[in-house]
Amino acid sequence: MTVDGANPATEKRESPRRKILPYGDRHGDGMVQVSFTLELPDGPEAEEAGRQVMKLMGLTDPQIVSSEPLGPSFTFFVGYGKLLRPVDLDNLKVAKLPWEKLDPETINKMVRERLGRPIIVVGAATGTDAHTIGLDAILNYKGYAGDHGLEAYSAFRVVNMGSQVENRDLVAKARELRADAVLVSQVVTQRNVHISNLTALVELLEAEGLRDDVVLVCGGPRLSHALAVELGYDAGFGPGTKPSEVASYLVQEVLKRKGV
């Protein structure tokens, strides 16, 4: 037993704030929970293989705390281990949002005064993706989480093409309406189908010579600004996005491009 006797202990946080480890029970313990499946029948071999998986993840003190047969030839593991490699916060590249949040009145006023006509926005869920709720949340009047969609702004004229729209139909519509911005939603991500769909759209726009005429934006639960930029988009919006964030971005980007 160790009791600190009469000396009140004051524990120091050993590592400086800018390098951090995962926190389980105590500062710096590095504790991480993992789970995974191996194609091996439950037993000592599988368990040792499970421990090896944890070691391959760089975990110190790997503990398999559960192994469950998923049938005759697969085993599921739950494990806890310590990741003692710190994240260096000073060297973190956080994809910064290149716009600031504005309120609806400001947005409407900016567009009225500086552009003199609404920004034309065309949106669609492309390819075979039939998930419209996210796109509707951004575009439709009703909006999302109490925040109205782009339709509710005088600053935007919105055309929502709905779901399962082929890229070529979207591009044709953008051309027809002389759209200022094209908004694409991608929700299904199995086997990275969203990546190929999104890439194909960029290529098509480029081939048609339209890429520079529009602000190109994508969104969906597995998208982030960083990924969007990587794919050749101007911006990307992930889960929980509010329509007003998209509105703020669009107005700033479109006005900047128009030089007004």
Partner: protein
């Protein structure tokens, strides 16, 4: 059928009866309006029923080849049955031979000499009866397997596999069965519902699901039959009888002994923007086949609850269930095969949300006492916090058991992340099994306190559903959908995909299945 024990809502029987009346009137009116029409999909299904299978050298399935050929030659309006009968009589071959000959250009429908109507109809009837016998054989096979192997007590646990690759799917399906699943659904790849043909052969490259093909059905059926033998209980197989090929898939499912089919009268219209008339005609023929094959259909009202707020839109779900029920009955399906859809989708953070869920779940159960309701798990209010999602599913599991649901679709903790991994399915089945067994008998121990929240809520949902149904009856279903009565989606009667596949039947039109099955269904 599973039962909600002593949990009985005090519902006004007059209101329930009024809902049935409206539901039936709505379905009948639609059918009157559409009686003179058929679709390319119905005709392709007839071709498949006559035994036509395979694809041409360009990969186009032979049923499409036949229908396209007839369409070009102008004979489609008579229905494919008459023309195939004629060709068979002419060539002495089977429909498959005819189709192959047409495909390679050796046979041209237009050039086959006509025969007396009677002779053609008799040949068509003969071919149809062979198809019906083939289907009834598979049905009997199912009944024998169930009586020999037995099956789980309800609620049956239903899980999906969706790797996109049928071979990987069979592995996962076997594992799921061995973990305790009673029903396995192979989810379809995105986009298939909008394809106006059914792909041929086994497939390995779907997105968010696996293509529905007859080979894929067969491969999975075989895997599950083996597993059923191993486990000593019959494992049911599900696929999607929806989209532009609904009647063909019904046929394929009947031939490959599927047990359950997602099959809704309006889903295609609302969620896939398929033309109204096309969908409503297709659903009828597909349901005649599903009814014959002993397949349980599952309707898609659960989807409304994922699209609009579940707390406020209960009445339209119930209304839609009455309509779907009567469409199905009209197609000759007995209630025991009509698995109406319902779901647990109210915002979990709403105070007393569980009481509202119980209320609606009981209501659906009680309005359709002989229907094997398919109860769907929470999905919309899940996010990447897989632990919370697992807790939410656990409460859903309890409600499924307490309210006596028959088919219990097992929710996945990773719903908001990916189509289920092997381990996700295991964990979800484990917890559903636990709740099912731990709560055995619970509903026999409780009775409802009259006029409290659960009962009052159910009464008001029923009353509102009745009003919705009366409105739809008055305006007609087409106009109601144009108004956006269901799932907040508005569709144009003359818009939507697949409209070009609807055609007016000629005076010579003949479909032996319609004739035989409608008289059969009277006997049910």
């Amino acid at each position: 059928m599973n039962s909600p024990g002593r949990l009985r809502l005090n519902l006004d029987p007059g209101t329930v009866a009024a809902c049935h009346e409206s539901g039936q009137a709505i379905a009948e009116k639609v059918w009157k309006e559409l009686e003179g029409l058929s679709t390319v999909a119905v005709e392709r299904a007839v071709a498949r029923l006559f035994g036509i299978d395979g694809a041409d050298s360009a990969g186009l399935p032979l049923p499409n080849v036949i229908v396209d050929a007839l369409s070009r030659s102008g004979g489609l309006e008579d229905g494919v049955a008459i023309h195939l009968a004629k060709a068979c009589l002419e060539t002495g071959g089977e429909p498959q031979d005819v189709a192959e000959d047409v495909a390679c250009g050796q046979l041209d429908f237009a050039s086959i000499p006509d025969r007396p109507r009677r002779e053609l109809e008799d040949k068509a009837r003969e071919l149809a009866r062979r198809a019906i016998d083939r289907i009834l054989d598979r049905r009997k096979e199912r009944e024998e397997l169930i009586s020999r192997l037995g099956q789980s007590r309800q609620p049956w646990l239903y899980v999906i596999v969706a790797t996109g690759n049928i071979y990987e799917d069979t592995i996962q399906a076997r594992m799921a069965a061995s973990q305790g699943a009673d029903i396995i659904a192979v989810i379809r790849s995105t986009g298939q519902s909008l394809m106006d043909f059914v792909p041929y052969g086994p497939t390995t490259e779907g997105y968010g699901g696996t293509y529905a093909t007859q080979d894929n059905f067969r491969l999975m059926r075989k895997a599950l039959d083996e597993e059923s033998e191993k486990l000593g209980r019959y494992i049911r197989l599900v696929n999607y009888c929806s989209g532009l090929c609904m009647p063909e898939i019904a046929t394929m499912g009947a031939f490959e002994r599927l047990d359950v089919m997602l099959n809704d009268a309006m889903y295609g219209i609302l969620f896939r923007d398929i033309n109204m008339e096309r969908t409503l005609i297709d659903q009828r023929f597909s349901r005649m086949i599903n009814g014959l094959s002993g397949i349980i259909i599952n309707t898609g009202e659960d989807n409304y609850l994922t699209t609009v707020d579940a707390f406020h839109h209960g009445p339209q779900v119930l209304a839609s269930e009455f309509i779907n029920l009567h469409f199905a009955r009209m197609a000759g399906i007995p209630d025991e095969q009509i698995g109406l859809g319902h779901a647990f989708q109210i915002d979990p953070w709403l105070e007393s949300s569980l009481l509202y869920e119980i209320s609606m779940a009981l209501l659906v159960r009680q309005c359709f006492p002989n229907c094997p309701v398919k109860y769907m798990p929470p999905t919309v209010h899940k996010d990447g916090n897989i632990f919370f999602a697992h807790a939410l599913d656990t409460m859903y599991n309890l409600v499924a058991s307490l309210t006596g649901q028959s088919i219990h679709l097992v929710g996945m903790l990773t719903e908001a992340v990916h189509t289920p991994f092997l381990q996700d399915r295991f964990l979800s089945i484990q917890s559903a099994k636990y709740v099912r067994e731990a709560s055995r008998g619970l509903s026999d121990n409780f009775s409802l306190v009259p006029e409290e929240l659960i009962e009052k809520r159910a009464q008001s949902l029923l009353q509102s559903a009745k009003e919705v149904l009366e409105h739809v009856k008055d305006t007609g279903l087409f106009a109601a959908i144009e108004e956006g009565v269901f799932a907040g989606v508005k569709r144009d009667r003359h818009g939507g995909r697949g409209r070009e596949g609807v055609f007016k039947k000629s005076a010579r039109y003949f479909n032996p299945f319609e004739e035989i099955l409608s008289s059969r269904s009277k006997a049910f």
